[in-house]
């Protein structure tokens, strides 16, 4: 699956282990380090994409599993920075078949959008192995020189390019997804289950811009195994945060007192048990996909004078919380961020 990438910088991290021992140097030849040994290595970086659903929702389904639902498992990844060299981070078998150190893991995902922009996502990835090949396997790189590539690598094959849904087919506006296509709402009330009905705190509330940041806090397990290569990549506790900027002609509600002014600091209007953040995006032809913090606490509130020609929005900083029990049997605890499948449902963990 080819994605609409705007940047990819996944690079080798070497970090040699330098000896700090003294070795009888004089002022003329004293160096901070003379001895060193190789450290364990990894490949790490970011891939920036314009968010899309892809053919038959393929990219959306991939994303929902890669970031959250199956974050413990690596996925195959190929990056070609120049159309000739291809760096491959491939799993050793079918997805989910082998839990080893091959493939690429999702370190983080940062969604954001604002006026006149697409929804963008920056994926942080980490991998232990990679191979470098030429795209057609066995051909010389010279075959992919500037002159030879009149039609490019991807675009020369319409079956490959078609998965990116170019030319905005049927005016679906989801390849990529523009800002206005997202319905992002902070909700206060009784949680209606994952991807459930919204419960807006105030009439007339508009979302100007939003972001959701998922950090997987991966732990690379280095052991004294006689090899430079790590033994495992583990997923740590998820850190989820976000921002939402709101506008209301009547003024945006205060998170403590609430829209009716009934809350107090000891009994505030919004707290994690009754607050969640949901981004809903309608699919071409109907149906909805979601990015949701099923429980969140407002940890920052900015309502400032913004200048004469600016709109006075109110910006909330959100912290996604774990601990919300699923309403679907078995009633397991939801992660602090859930991303629906293309079908609009909760993907099974490890699926």
């Amino acid at each position: 699956m080819v994605v609409l990438a705007t940047g990819a910088s996944v690079n080798l991290v070497l970090e040699p282990i330098y000896s700090t021992a003294v070795w009888g140097a004089g002022w003329y030849n004293a160096a901070e380090a003379a001895h060193y040994a190789d450290n364990a290595l990894r490949y790490e970086g970011n891939i920036d994409v314009e968010l899309q659903m892809g053919a038959a929702g393929g990219f959306w389904d991939f994303m929902s599993k890669f970031i959250v639902a199956s974050r413990a498992y690596p996925r195959s990844l190929e990056i070609s920075p120049d159309g000739s060299h291809v760096y491959s981070y491939l799993t050793t078998g079918a997805y989910n078949a082998n839990y080893d150190t091959h493939g690429a893991w999702c370190k983080s995902a940062n969604f954001s959008t604002s006026e006149s922009s697409f929804v963008t996502c920056s994926f942080g990835v980490v991998a232990i192995f990679r191979t470098e090949t030429d795209p057609a396997g066995g051909q010389n790189y010279s075959n992919y020189s500037y002159i030879q590539q009149a039609k490019g690598v991807i675009a020369s094959d319409c079956t490959v390019l078609s998965v990116t849904n170019p030319l905005n087919p049927a005016v679906g506006n989801v390849d990529p997804i523009p800002f206005w296509k997202t319905n992002a709402q902070i909700n206060v009330g009784t949680y209606d289950g994952e991807f459930g009905t919204a419960s807006l705190p105030q009439v007339g509330l508009e979302t100007v811009e939003w972001s959701v940041d998922v950090t997987n806090n991966e732990k690379i397990l280095y052991t004294c195994s006689g090899s430079r290569l790590p033994r495992a990549v583990l997923m740590g506790p998820m850190d989820v945060s976000g921002n939402v900027t709101l506008y209301n002609p009547q003024g945006v509600f205060d998170p403590i007192t609430g829209p009716a002014g009934t809350g107090t600091i000891t009994s505030p209007y919004a707290y994690a048990q009754n607050t969640w953040f949901q981004v809903a995006i309608t699919k071409p032809g109907g149906g909805v996909v979601y990015i949701e913090m099923p429980a969140c606490v407002i940890m920052g509130d900015e309502y400032s004078i913004t200048g004469m020609d600016n709109i006075t929005n109110r910006a909330f900083t959100l912290k996604g919380m774990g601990g919300r029990c699923s309403t679907v049997t078995p009633t397991t605890v939801l992660p602090p961020c859930i991303i629906s499948s293309y079908a609009g449902a909760l993907p099974a963990a490890g699926s």
């Binding site: 839990y99 495992a232 583990l234 707290y271 048990q273 601990g323 078995p330 605890v333 963990a349």
Partner: protein, 293 residues
């Protein structure tokens, strides 16, 4: 085995918001002082390393660290008063692994509060025996594949998350506590309650097969200290500087409290601080009576 988030702690019948444990199984070695006739070098198997030895009953002295919930604070309060009673402790450091102790007696308890943090503390305990220790044999791959949702406790008895009903009891924040000395409530910046007692095992020489379990357990005198730092913000509250002897004290944590009597000052200091620090008074009282209320 994976990362720490799969673990949990249970004290009595209550899950705690555990932050760490240290419960080593210590093998008490009984070394002989006799001569052993070893060689200096060759043959190597006769080089004198160590002496004749045997092993005594295993020791399971350990500690738990946690953030206080209302339930755990209530449990601790009762355990302090019934200090010669045992409790059950269950520790699970990872999926598939747990160790349980059914005859544990506390030898230290601490409760601390301070700016910007949850009330936290620890229990030090002496366990007579480890009832069970199951070490999970599943490897990383099996655990990740089979138990993506973890231990499944959150919806089944674990303290309510998400600050349910905005009660601020799981965990209890520092500001939801207070200290009253005599009839006055003081503005404490930090406070710390420490309980300690000796737990002594009595062994008997009445069985000939193998190391023996302790025959009896006794608890020695208890010491209690209440220390902290306070600021005198309102000259009418408290009405006076704390005296060397205080008849009563109440430490409130959320909507539960522990009452004490007969407090005697052991140290107090009122020091110059750095330019951007507050200037609290530090004090420590020895407590000589724990009330049941």
């Amino acid at each position: 085995m994976a990362l720490g988030y799969a673990g949990y702690i249970k004290v009595g019948n209550k899950y705690a918001l555990g932050t760490g444990t240290a419960v080593p199984r210590a093998r008490t070695r009984l070394d002989s002082n006799s001569g052993y006739g070893g060689r200096v070098s060759t043959p190597t198997y006769q080089i004198g390393i160590g002496a004749p030895r045997t092993y005594d009953w295993d020791v399971f002295d350990g500690s738990l660290s946690f953030e206080y919930t209302k339930d755990i604070f209530t449990l601790i309060k009762a355990w302090v008063l019934a200090r010669d009673t045992q409790n059950n402790i269950l520790i699970a450091p990872r999926m598939g692994t747990s160790e349980s102790f059914s005859e544990t007696f506390w030898n230290s308890i601490s409760i601390s509060a301070g700016e910007g943090a949850a009330v936290d503390g620890s229990i030090g305990f002496v366990a007579m025996v480890r009832d069970s220790y199951g070490y999970g044999l599943q490897g990383l791959q099996a655990e990740y594949a089979n138990v993506p949702n973890g231990q499944g406790l959150m919806c089944n008895g674990f303290p309510d998350p998400l600050n349910a009903n905005h009660l601020n009891i799981n965990p209890i924040p520092f500001w939801n506590t207070s200290v009253q000395l005599g009839s006055d409530k003081y503005d404490f910046l930090t406070w710390n309650l420490e309980f300690s007692q000796e737990v002594v095992k009595f062994f008997a020489c009445n069985v000939t097969a193998g190391p023996q379990a302790p025959r009896y357990v006794g608890v020695g005198p208890m010491t209690v200290t209440l220390s902290g730092t306070w600021m005198w913000i309102d000259p009418t509250r408290p009405s006076a500087f704390p005296s060397d002897s205080i008849a009563t004290a109440v430490v409130s944590v959320a909507d539960t409290s522990m009452s004490f009597a007969d407090l005697e000052l052991t140290s107090i200091s009122d020091e110059v601080q750095s330019s951007d620090s507050t200037t609290p008074v530090s004090m420590e009282y020895a407590v000589y009576q724990v009330e049941s209320t």
